[in-house]
Amino acid sequence: MKISRAEVEHVAHLARLHLTESELSKMTEQLGMILSYVQKLQGLDTKDLPPTTHAISVCNAFREDRVLPSLPQKVALSCSPGHNEEMFQVPRII
């Protein structure tokens, strides 16, 4: 399975990554290898087979509707590289 340089570039954009020219070449080659390998799954008949997303499925994991302590705003903001004591700050978007 071949993946083109342009496709890798597009996927990188979706994943919010910049790739340098040399990274792009390397990733194109390595992703191609990996995708060729995983092609072997196509040889299996999985028609009408339900997918497994969790090996042990827990249905409706409810807990009592009770207010529990949570992180104070100041502490929650303390890990952020950019905030103004009240909210997270990012470069302007409008």
């Binding site: 994943a15 919010r16 992703l31 990996i34 299996l44 997918p51 827990v58 890990c79």
Partner: protein
């Protein structure tokens, strides 16, 4: 015998009779770290003062009769378990300065039982790897042989336990990341059933596969640690409400009548003859001890690597979307638009393997490819799960190798990701099926590298795994400490 060589159980009994203090034990580990960690390279963050303080506190609690099951025992945490006030890097530059404001549930439980946290140990970046070489803060070495990998991704945990830098460690296993380094470094490592141990505060890699577990000197310690960390947690909605047995109650030397399944697909071409010799020897010993040996087929084994390397990256690409420079972690501040801030931050913060997996995962989930890749892999996961369900109708546990070979040289295969992925073939199916697995030391290669034996069992049957591992340990009597320093 040096204090740092003690097992958890031995140290607990010596402290109980007043023959040993946690402070002395903790100092012994800290001295050992000073002596050998330059070579072993297990620690990313060492909290010398904090550890001694916790040790003195444990000693005073003990004098007052308040004795938790790990009271005064020095342990090391894989650096993806959040520790309140202590840096948690996940082996990544993007979290180089991340100081969590809370403890992971398992960390809270270890502290609650009186455990002394020495610090945080090395791992592959975001737990993505099999050698710990992708760690941004130093690569651990195999304590048994200079220049060889400790395995991964919990390589720092395995190396630290093996080298005597701590008595036990917690790691995480998404595709073998506890069992494989435990095997390569000659320690015991258990991946519990998915849902047995809370994942709250474990930095997520692939949420449907990740599970926290212990790495220890012996099987008894593994049972003690499993008692300490297991149980339902309402902060992790995938943790399961099921009774937790006393895991030490399974440590009886009796496997008579137990059906030991030998999965034939794990003994095919590519298996190192020395690994095969050690594992077959273990199976023979179990037969001598009265177990029945059954030939088992896991017909979809050859599809496990392919399914895993779509599902795990898909989940990772989604989990790692949170590292965008906004809420935590580092931020590249040169950018003037939000989009370039995201891209600059992530491109500078993530290493090559993490980027590769994010790209594979994003591709597998992207429009037009979802059915062919992610959905297909999830359907194949059903077949893999069914293989195990069928197998466990015919046998009680599966005994097999952990890895196809003993540890390899650092730097080998660094340009061939697929070759490294293929070495995970014997461990990743347990994560896809959610079943528990343990690696117990089985012997050594001619070069003196440890070789482990893997035992896997049905969901929530960790007890039987411990029982089989315990009798193997008793019959094999494998040396537990490498000569270092």
């Amino acid at each position: 015998m040096n204090l740092y060589e003690l097992t958890v159980a031995e140290a607990m009994s010596r402290m109980a009779i007043g023959d040993l203090t946690s402070e002395a034990l903790t100092r012994s580990c800290l001295d050992r770290i000073d002596q050998v960690d330059g070579e072993v390279g297990a620690f990313i963050t060492l909290d010398r003062e904090g550890a001694l303080e916790q040790a003195r506190k444990a000693d005073s609690e003990r004098r007052r009769g308040r004795v938790g099951t790990l009271c005064g025992i020095p342990v090391a945490m894989k650096d993806l378990l959040c520790t309140k006030g202590m840096r948690t890097t996940c082996g990544s530059k993007i979290l180089a300065d991340f100081i969590p404001p809370y403890d992971a549930t398992v960390v809270e439980k270890i502290r609650g039982q009186g455990g002394v946290i020495l610090g945080k140990v090395s791992m592959d970046e975001f737990a993505m790897g099999s050698t710990s070489e992708s760690c941004a803060f130093g690569v651990p070495q195999n304590p048994w042989k200079k220049g060889y990998v400790a395995g991964g991704s919990s390589g720092g945990s395995a190396a630290a336990v093996s080298a005597g830098e701590c008595l036990a460690s917690l790691g995480s296993d998404t595709g073998g990341s506890i069992r494989q380094p435990a095997c390569l470094c000659g320690t015991v490592g258990m991946k519990p059933t998915y849902g047995r141990v809370s994942r709250y505060g474990l930095v997520a890699f692939a949420s449907s596969l990740d599970q926290v577990g212990p790495l220890c000197r012996d099987v008894t310690d593994c049972a003690i640690l499993m008692n300490a960390i297991s149980g339902h947690d309402q902060r992790d909605s995938t943790s399961v409400k099921i009774e937790v047995p006393d895991f030490t109650s399974f440590l009886v030397g009796d496997v008579r009548g137990l059906r030991i399944g030998v999965p034939r697909e794990y003994f095919t071409a590519g298996l190192d003859p020395e690994v095969e010799r050690v594992v077959r020897n273990g199976i023979d010993l179990l037969r001598l001890a009265g177990a029945e040996v059954v030939d088992i087929a896991l017909p979809h084994t050859e599809y496990c690597v392919a399914a895993y390397y779509l599902i795990a990256p898909a989940e990772a690409s989604s989990n790692l979307a949170r590292y965008d420079g906004v809420n935590f972690g580092s931020r590249d501040t040169r950018a003037d638009t939000l989009m370039s801030m995201y891209k600059d931050t992530r491109s500078a913060g993530f290493g090559a393997e993490v980027k590769r997996r994010i790209l594979i995962g994003t591709y597998a989930l992207s429009s037009g490819y979802y059915d062919a890749y992610y959905k297909k892999a999830s359907q194949v996961r059903t077949l893999i799960l069914q293989d195990f369900q069928t197998a466990f109708e015919l046998c009680d546990v599966l005994v097999s190798p952990v890895t196809p070979t003993p540890a390899w040289r650092l730097g080998e295969n660094s340009d061939n990701p697929l070759a490294v992925y293929l070495s995970d073939i014997m461990t990743i199916s347990a994560n896809l099926a959610g079943i528990p697995g343990i690696s117990v030391p089985g012997g050594f290669s001619e070069d003196g590298l440890p070789i482990g034996i893997q035992i896997q069992g049905p969901h929530f049957d960790e007890g039987t795994l411990l029982k089989v591992a315990y009798i193997l340990e008793k019959m094999l009597g494998v040396t537990r400490m490498p000569s270092l320093g």
